[in-house]
């Protein structure tokens, strides 16, 4: 019997029912589609906003940090320097914040229907991939404008780096989502926490500012590593540091598995709390 369901008190956290997830792929598609659709319907400028937002932040950051504060940018023109930082950071932080809020934002559905709970954080992060498309187009424009000669490797690594952002954001998000559902004040602390994370990440300043500890920071902060690899690769400022990248990938996967484990551990008791 293929359709047999056994309902028991406790499931083992890492015992994931893949066929069930595959069976629910249409729901997964519609949840992601809903998130994308609603987001662009709610903002007045809609699609225009996702094009404007990174451009406006780039201009503002360039004026404040590049011109007034004169923050070093490793001899890379500051506008594209900060744009690369923002590209990864915005993708990471919006994916993280959506994943962390995914249980609360889907509360009404979670309370009334069953589907593999893990779909809530995953579908809400995937919705942010769409935002990347115009940002990447602008990036190409900037690279051409500043006559950058990116290495083939750095371009080839770009999708992998974005995937690393997604995986680590999901990892942290899946860890925070059950906590967010339980403690109702966490949602007010979260944006603040994410903002603090930004300052710990070389978005507006170069990795080299950390000096000797830079390597360690890049290992445990996947966003820092992604920014560093892209900046140095696009402008050939530094050679590729494979060992650090390797550790960073392993660290991201570790974060993902930890988040997944915690989420699965708590997923049975969400609805009692929500």
């Amino acid at each position: 019997m293929t359709d047999r369901i056994v309902i028991k008190p406790q499931t083992r956290p890492l015992d994931i029912n893949w066929s069930e997830i595959w069976e629910s792929r249409d729901l997964f598609y519609y949840l992601t589609w809903r998130d994308i659709k609603v987001r662009y319907k709610q903002t007045i400028l809609g699609v225009l906003w996702i094009v404007l937002q990174p451009l406006v932040s780039m201009v503002v950051f360039t004026i404040i940090f590049g011109n007034f504060a004169k923050i070093s940018s490793d001899n890379i023109p500051y506008p594209i320097f900060v744009f690369i930082g923002l590209l990864f950071w915005n993708f990471f932080s919006s994916a993280l914040s959506s994943a962390s809020n995914s249980l609360i934002s889907n509360e009404n559905i979670l309370k009334k229907v069953y589907f593999p709970r893990i779909m809530a954080p995953i579908s809400s992060t995937l919705a942010h991939i769409v935002d990347l498309i115009p940002t990447l187009v602008i990036l190409v424009g900037l690279l051409v404008y500043y006559r950058a000669v990116p290495t083939i490797l750095s371009l080839a690594l770009l999708p992998l780096l974005l995937l690393m952002m997604l995986v680590s954001a999901l990892g942290v998000g899946m860890f925070l989502a059950p906590i967010n559902a339980k403690f109702r004040d966490v949602r007010y602390i979260l944006p603040f926490f994410i903002q603090l994370l930004m300052f710990a990440t070389p978005v507006i300043y170069p990795t080299s500012m950390f000096g000797g500890t830079s390597q360690w920071i890049r290992m445990i902060n996947p966003v820092a590593e992604a920014i560093e690899i892209s900046r140095s690769g696009f402008f050939g400022t530094r050679p590729m540091d494979w060992p650090t990248f390797g550790v960073s990938i392993i660290f991201s996967l570790g974060v993902f598995v930890t988040g997944l484990y915690y989420f699965r551990l708590k997923e049975n008791s969400f609805v009692d709390i929500l």
């Binding site: 598609y29 519609y30 659709k37 004040d185």
Partner: protein, 418 residues
Amino acid sequence: MRQKNVISVAGISKQFSISSDDQYYTLRDFISDIPGKLFTNAVRKKRGEKFWALKDVSFNIKKGEVLGMIGRNGAGKSTLLKIMARIVPPTEGTITIDGRVASMLEIGTGFNSELTGRENIFLNGAILGMKRAEIKRKFKDIVEFSGIGKFLDMPVKRYSSGMHVRLAFAVAAHLDPEILLIDEVLAVGDMAFQRKSLRKMQSIARDEGRTVVFVSHNMTAIDSLCSRVALLEEGNLVAVGKPREIISEYITDFVPDDTPKIRENKVRAGNGKVRIVDFWIENGRGKRENFVRSGDVCFFIFKYECPSGESQRDVDMGFSVSTAMEQPLFLQYTSFTKQEVDNCPASGKFVFKFAKLPLAKGQYNLNTRVVVGESEADYVVGAASFNVEDGDFYGAGIPVGQNHSPMYVDGDWEVRSD
């Protein structure tokens, strides 16, 4: 031929912890509780009050059966259904289900008001467990059944509530699983829509080979839809059997016999200066009765207590009566008749006299509310239920026996010539 079991429920128990004072447990509370936890168990005890919503429930459902689940508010029906739907896990026990399950615990789950009717059909269909191809195939039927026609591409936020409900029901009614779990979805919309949806539910339930579990307070719907009925009482399964028998057992079981149920009711609001703890009905001679007849003289007795042990000033007691389908019928406060209680003893009974009970045969629910001064002291939703049997409301010698509506009105007829 004996059909095989498609659902077997074995020893299901569910424990909930009730945190009475704090609905929102915050991280701040958690942190501030830590010092207390280190020294005593007091904090943990206060928050960790547990109760069993279900206790060792076991039964089997055969293929093609329509099982109704009945019981009072808080008997555990909905909790059991939610466990079967895999929304909440059981604390103990196992349920085995063979077949594709869909649940309808409410209609319009996940409807997004920003999206259009068309988009919501797809989203809601997917949430209810339909495949994309299946929704596409049934799309025309769904739109036709809902009757929203030209509003299909309008955002749902601009729909009237009636259109909203019709669209939501239309999607749900086109579910086609082997096993369907339904909770009270019929109790929405106007009367015409309720009839239409009841007919649709009947055709769904009678469909060959489909197994349905149906939770409702609506005994008429249970009686007409179900082939078997399970009665739950305070988390225990007390009887399973033929609809008529179980329904009558349930109805005659409305004795305020053993324990005062209202005292334990957790669904209550108010500051607690006065608490309603029990309710019963007495006939015109002051004898406690299990049921009343239409047109009877009777007394509704509300036993109350003031937990502080002190008498209270300026007390306004009220109750409301609604049908089993939660249609409100009337509301009665002491202030309506200018009979507020100026000085209310620390415990006692509020007694309301019906000179002539205006209710028709059926089952009714009762809410109670007490106001002390300006503030709500006690508000209990679903405080009690009671039954009314046919009676001679008009004193014409025989009961009218109407089942058109839940109320009788007093009056006289005459004919005037032009």
